[in-house]
């Protein structure tokens, strides 16, 4: 049966393709359907269909009712009289004490009889499991651990396990695996010292989830790759008795410290340097500038007061407390000083700018200003050729924009005079002319 022909429409394809689609139901369907129909028919009690079944069922029902009613009263008598006998006591007692009691009690007795010395290692009151033996050697491990324990037990504390151990105790050959671990978590690379404190062990086997193995009593393993590792210790004693414990350690990743300084190792004196933190995977940053200064800002600004080579170090720390440090030598020398003036500039035609400039950005030279380093005091005046004062400034941040009282001055030559003091304390006084150009 196939759909054939031209279908531009998917609806049509399905409509005609499924036209007359049939499927053979499994024989089971018919049987269970007929059973359902019969049940329903029966319950509907169609008077036209009374047959032997109805009669039989009616008779059976009546009989059942009779038996039940007589039997019911009989049982009732039993129940009343049966309350007193002591047989029932044992039945009611079980739920009250519970199954743990049944298991614990003999175990308790056995342990006390078999090995009293072990009890000394158990700290009273540290028990957490309600359904365990009083002497669980994993508590020894626990009590010896000082850090916050994430000790996991490979062994499940089932009743079955307990019973197995009871058997061992009886033979006084209980092999118990336990060990001490120097750290359960730490930053990569994490070095952990492991020491077996297993009892009744003839041989021990250490394994780690990254495939290391050892049979030494005391070992030291280093985990360099961040992640979670499970260290297991299997102790095997006489016969087939063996026990194992495991602990999970977490190796935290490290952040990566990196920074850059602007301006880079240039001999600057009075200007601030900016430190950019390019570290990865970190939470907090701690800077040390090498001159006693510190900062916890991400991108701090610093100013060295004296020339010299400083060790700038950056320590970054992540959320696990793991840190990384990087340092650079940054040399700066004080005492370098200079001031130079250009001899031409092109003012902005569109209006006064106020004369603000930056040594780094004023490439268009629309403001008349000096190039300088190491200047502490500064005064600049600009005159016309007739001697009229057009502009004066005491700030190194403001130069002449070529305007006078809001009017753009004529192109031509102007006279300037400057004086001030360098960082060395040396005074300077300069004068010259500048040509105002117009494009």
């Amino acid at each position: 049966m196939a759909a054939k022909g031209k279908y531009s429409d998917i609806d049509e394809l399905f409509r005609s393709g499924l036209e007359g689609f049939e499927a053979e139901p499994s024989p089971l369907v018919r049987r269970s359907l007929m059973r359902r129909v019969e049940t329903r028919e029966f319950l509907r009690f169609n008077p036209g269909r009374i047959n032997i079944w109805y009669v039989a069922v009616a008779a059976a029902t009546a009989g059942a009712i009779l038996i039940l009613s007589s039997g019911g009263t009989g049982k009732g008598d039993d129940a009343i009289s049966g309350r007193a006998p002591s047989d029932t006591v044992s039945i009611t007692e079980i739920p009250s004490t519970g199954i743990p009691a049944k298991i614990e009690e003999p175990a308790d007795l056995q342990t006390r009889a078999g090995s009293t010395d072990r009890q000394t290692t158990v700290q009273p009151g540290t028990r957490e499991e309600s359904m365990s033996l009083p002497v669980r050697q994993n508590e020894v491990v626990k009590s010896k651990l000082t850090s916050s324990d994430t000790l996991s037990r490979a062994k499940s504390d089932t009743a079955g396990g307990n019973l197995q151990q009871v058997a061992d105790i009886q033979g006084e050959n209980l092999t118990v695996s336990s060990f001490t671990i120097s750290a359960l978590s730490g930053c990569a690379p994490l070095k952990v010292s492991l020491s077996s404190t297993s009892t009744n062990a003839e041989s021990i086997q250490w394994v780690s989830s990254d495939g290391r193995k050892s049979q030494e009593q005391t070992i030291e393993w280093e985990f360099t790759t961040p992640g979670s590792y499970t260290i297991g210790l299997t102790a095997t004693g006489k016969g087939a008795s063996s026990d194992n414990r495991s602990a999970t350690i977490i190796v935290h990743p490290l952040p990566k410290a990196r920074f850059e300084v602007t301006p880079a190792n240039r001999e600057v004196t009075d200007r601030d340097i900016i430190l950019f933190n390019y570290s990865e995977n970190f939470l907090t940053a701690s800077w040390s500038f090498g001159d006693g200064g510190n900062s916890t800002l991400n991108d701090p600004v610093h100013n060295y007061k004296a020339s010299g080579a400083y060790r700038i170090s950056l320590k970054v720390t992540n959320e696990h407390g793991c840190s990384d440090t990087v340092s650079k030598i940054y040399s700066t020398s004080r005492g370098v000083h200079r001031i130079e003036f250009p001899n031409a500039f092109i003012p902005n035609k569109n209006g006064p700018t106020g004369g603000y400039y930056s040594l780094r950005s004023d490439e268009a030279a629309s403001v008349f200003h000096p190039e300088y380093e190491g200047v502490t005091e500064y005064y600049l005046a600009v005159y016309s050729r007739t001697g009229a004062l057009l502009f004066e400034s005491r700030s190194l941040n403001i130069g002449w924009d070529g305007y006078y009282k809001g009017q753009l001055c004529e192109p031509g030559v102007y006279i300037w005079r400057a004086r001030g003091r360098f960082v060395t304390g040396e005074q300077f006084q300069k004068s010259g002319d500048v040509t105002l150009l117009k494009f």
């Binding site: 394809l13 399905f14 393709g17 499924l18």
Partner: protein, 193 residues
């Protein structure tokens, strides 16, 4: 072979024999419908049982006016819808917005040859809601308003589910066609991949 009329008359009288005959005659046809509305064969057979129970006990509702097969079909569809409502809460539901696929171009299936089995299989791959709407609208020929009433959904939901079902079916059929490899992949440019 008894005629429909005789079978119906027998069923009205709850004749077991007539019921068996009805089952023999229509179970294949009805299962075909049930399969379209269910996710697998077991579910379809469960629905089929329900359909027959309904038919046997509500045979009086058939007035005798229209075609008997048509009436059976309607009972089957209604039973399937009831089943859909009942099992809806057990099924994984996709939000409409999860499906951003739109009808892309007009891929024509002119010369293709899909068997009904393939069509049913493709249909069964649709999310349950889409399948219901598409079945009812495209195959059964109900209006969106009627479908909305039957499925307790909004008319617009019916419309959008229908159009998305179409888009998905189109994709699936194209894919099927490529899989079969018996047709030239004329509308695919392999070099772009």
């Amino acid at each position: 072979m008894l005629s429909d009329g005789e079978i119906i008359e027998g069923c009205r009288k709850h004749s077991r024999k007539a019921q068996q005959l009805l089952y023999d005659k229509y179970s294949r046809f009805l299962l075909g419908i049930c399969l379209r509305y269910s996710s697998d064969r077991a579910e379809a057979e469960d629905i089929l049982q329900d359909v027959f129970v309904r038919v046997f006990f509500n045979i009086d509702e058939y007035s005798g006016a229209g075609s008997f097969a048509g009436w059976l079909r309607k009972v089957a569809v209604n039973t399937a819808i009831t089943n859909y409502h009942r099992t809806m809460k057990h099924r994984y539901h996709l939000d409409i917005d999860e499906y951003k696929s739109m009808e892309t171009g007009t891929v024509s299936f002119e010369d293709d040859l899909f068997t009904a089995d393939e069509l049913v299989r493709v249909l069964n791959e649709l999310p349950p809601g889409y399948k219901m709407v598409f079945n009812l609208y495209a195959v059964e020929g109900y209006k969106h308003r009627e479908i909305a009433d039957m499925l307790n959904i909004d008319v617009n939901t019916s419309k959008s589910q229908y159009s998305r079902a179409r888009a998905m079916l189109r994709d699936k059929l194209s894919h099927l066609r490529e899989l079969r490899g018996s047709y030239v992949a004329d509308d695919r440019d392999d070099e772009t991949e």
